[in-house]
């Protein structure tokens, strides 16, 4: 049953060192506030899972929260690469980072299989790609009817899924609108979930019958954090802060500048 509690308590109760956690949101509704709280609480040794590691994972990797990253594209969209991610992979700074690299199709199908309670996902993938040579979890199955060999990846079943959504009802049902990404699948595939929302509303009566809603009994904790997706955007609330993304490239380019900025804006910022 979804309890509506402060973000600080939700993260403290649910996110522990060494866990596999997924902060999802495909450019839209990226749970920055929750990610910052995880960093403030100094979580370590995490396996971070995310299709498109964005600034939030660049920050968490740079702050030494992550032992491993499972991803399919790691960049600063429209700007360049993720400086802290590159520093970790190329120079093992702040420490070595194990990576498990997939394609978007593989991770989308892996979340879907996780939500569907299956142990693996099947898709027509990786044909002619070296990814299947370097990523050891990629395997295959043969179609019993046509003999076609299709790629498989293990289902993604994170310990914790963290997403941001527009609204929650008083009872704790969660509404996600616009670009949905893999947020529903991540929550359903995970053992626990934290959802930060822009606001609480009385109920979802009168909403479109096929809107994307997570019932309260599929969510562990909800925290009301208006602006919780900034600098990414929340459809119907605020636009993407492109200047933050543009400015990040310089901030993250230098280790000292990065560390100093994070201390001022994130660790002691709140």
């Amino acid at each position: 049953m979804a309890r509506i509690i402060p973000l600080k308590d939700a993260v403290a109760e649910i996110v522990q060192d060494g866990m596999t956690i997924a902060l999802e949101g495909f450019t839209h509704l990226i749970p920055y506030a929750a990610g910052h709280e995880i960093m403030r609480q100094g979580r370590r040794d995490l396996t971070l899972v995310r299709m498109t590691p964005d600034l939030i994972y660049d920050q968490m990797i740079g702050m030494g929260c992550a032992r491993k990253l499972i991803f399919s594209w790691g960049g600063n969209p429209g700007v360049g690469s993720l400086r802290r991610l590159r520093d970790a992979v190329e120079n093992n700074w702040p420490h070595a980072l194990e990576i498990e690299e997939h394609s978007h199709a593989a991770m989308a199908n892996a979340y879907e299989a996780g939500a569907a309670g299956l142990p693996f996902a099947v898709f027509r993938g990786y044909r002619g790609s070296d990814l299947s040579r370097v990523t050891t979890t990629i395997s295959s199955v043969t179609c019993p009817y046509t003999g076609e060999v299709l790629a498989t990846v293990p289902a993604l079943r994170p310990d914790v899924a963290v997403i941001h959504a527009q609204k929650a009802s008083k009872r704790g049902d969660v509404l996600i609108e616009g670009i949905l990404g893999v947020q529903k699948e991540a929550v359903l595939a995970a053992r626990h979930s934290i959802v930060t929302v822009e606001e609480i509303v009385d109920s979802f009566d009168g909403l479109h019958p096929n809107a994307c809603i997570l019932p309260h009994w599929t969510v562990s904790a909800i925290a009301v954090v208006p602006g919780g997706a900034h600098p990414s955007y929340a459809h119907g609330y605020y636009p993407r802060d492109n200047s933050y993304y543009l400015a990040w490239d310089k901030i993250a380019a230098d280790r000292a500048t990065f560390r100093e900025w994070m201390d001022r804006h994130v660790i002691n910022g709140m």
Partner: protein, 259 residues
């Protein structure tokens, strides 16, 4: 160069290749500019699909990322990312996949993963994202990239996504029945795969570009088509439309846009 930039003619040449009834999987950057230029000029009914699930979207401003708000606001509908990859891409509904590339070889194989060794890379690149499956599930692939020796290489450090593999029938022998790379547009020229070897040959030079210039900026021995053409210069309409798009985009994103 006349009164347009190399990047502009690349985008315009790319847009010209798109047809009104194409269903196009659009990558960020030059692909996005080309597709929206086509949509606002000769192909008003073209369907643009971005990886984030936005179907038949009509952005006024070029998105900084495949999940920008305007893509959803102007889309016919927005589906989840698992559905986008399962029903729309893997379901074989995309006629043209538009990809950019960091490194490309003469068979249209792409590397956006690493420069150097995978496990101890000199440069770690963003990764393939949707490319490995876009490259094999779309009807055909158009490629756009800046024409540099660093980009067009003889041997890739890593095959992120498959083009024509090692050439000839290699793609087909790997069980991939879609057409693969059929067009490469750079800021110097247009290339197409040779019918037999499937290696890129230069079919058209942009105005003012010499053969030597192309060879000097290409990491493999360039082959030029016998009937080597010259890319028609941008029309006033093409140029004005592209510059309007780029101006609106620069204003919205608070900086100048390279294509």
């Amino acid at each position: 160069m006349a009164d347009y930039t190399a990047a502009e003619i690349m985008t315009i040449a790319a847009a010209r290749a798109l047809k009104n009834d194409d269903v196009c999987f659009v990558g960020i950057g030059a692909p996005s500019a080309a597709c929206n230029l086509a949509r606002t000029t000769h192909a008003p009914d073209i369907t643009l699909i971005y990886e984030s699930g936005t179907i038949a979207t009509k952005p006024e401003v070029l998105p900084l990322s495949i999940g920008d708000g305007e893509l959803c606001d102007t889309a016919l509908c927005t589906v989840s990312v698992p559905e986008m990859f399962r029903y729309w891409l893997q379901g074989g509904r995309i006629t043209v996949g538009f990809l950019g590339a960091a490194q490309l070889d003469k068979f249209g194989n792409i590397n956006t993963t690493v420069v150097g060794d995978y496990h101890t890379p000199k440069t770690r690149l963003p990764g393939g994202g949707g490319a490995p499956e876009i490259a094999t599930c779309c009807g055909e692939i158009f490629l756009t990239m800046k024409h540099t020796k660093r980009g067009l290489v003889d041997r890739l450090d890593f095959w992120t996504s498959l083009g024509h593999g090692n050439g000839y029938d290699d793609r087909l022998n790997r069980g991939v029945t879609t057409k693969g790379p059929s067009l490469l547009l750079t800021d110097l020229c247009i290339m197409k795969p040779d019918d037999t070897s499937k290696a890129f040959i230069v079919t058209s030079l942009h105005p003012g570009v010499t053969r030597q210039q192309v060879q000097d900026n290409t990491g493999w021995d360039v082959v030029f088509a016998e009937n080597l053409a010259e890319t028609p210069a941008p029309t006033a309409l093409e140029l004005r439309t592209l510059r309007d798009i780029n101006a609106r985009t620069a204003a919205a994103h608070g900086r100048s846009v390279e294509a």
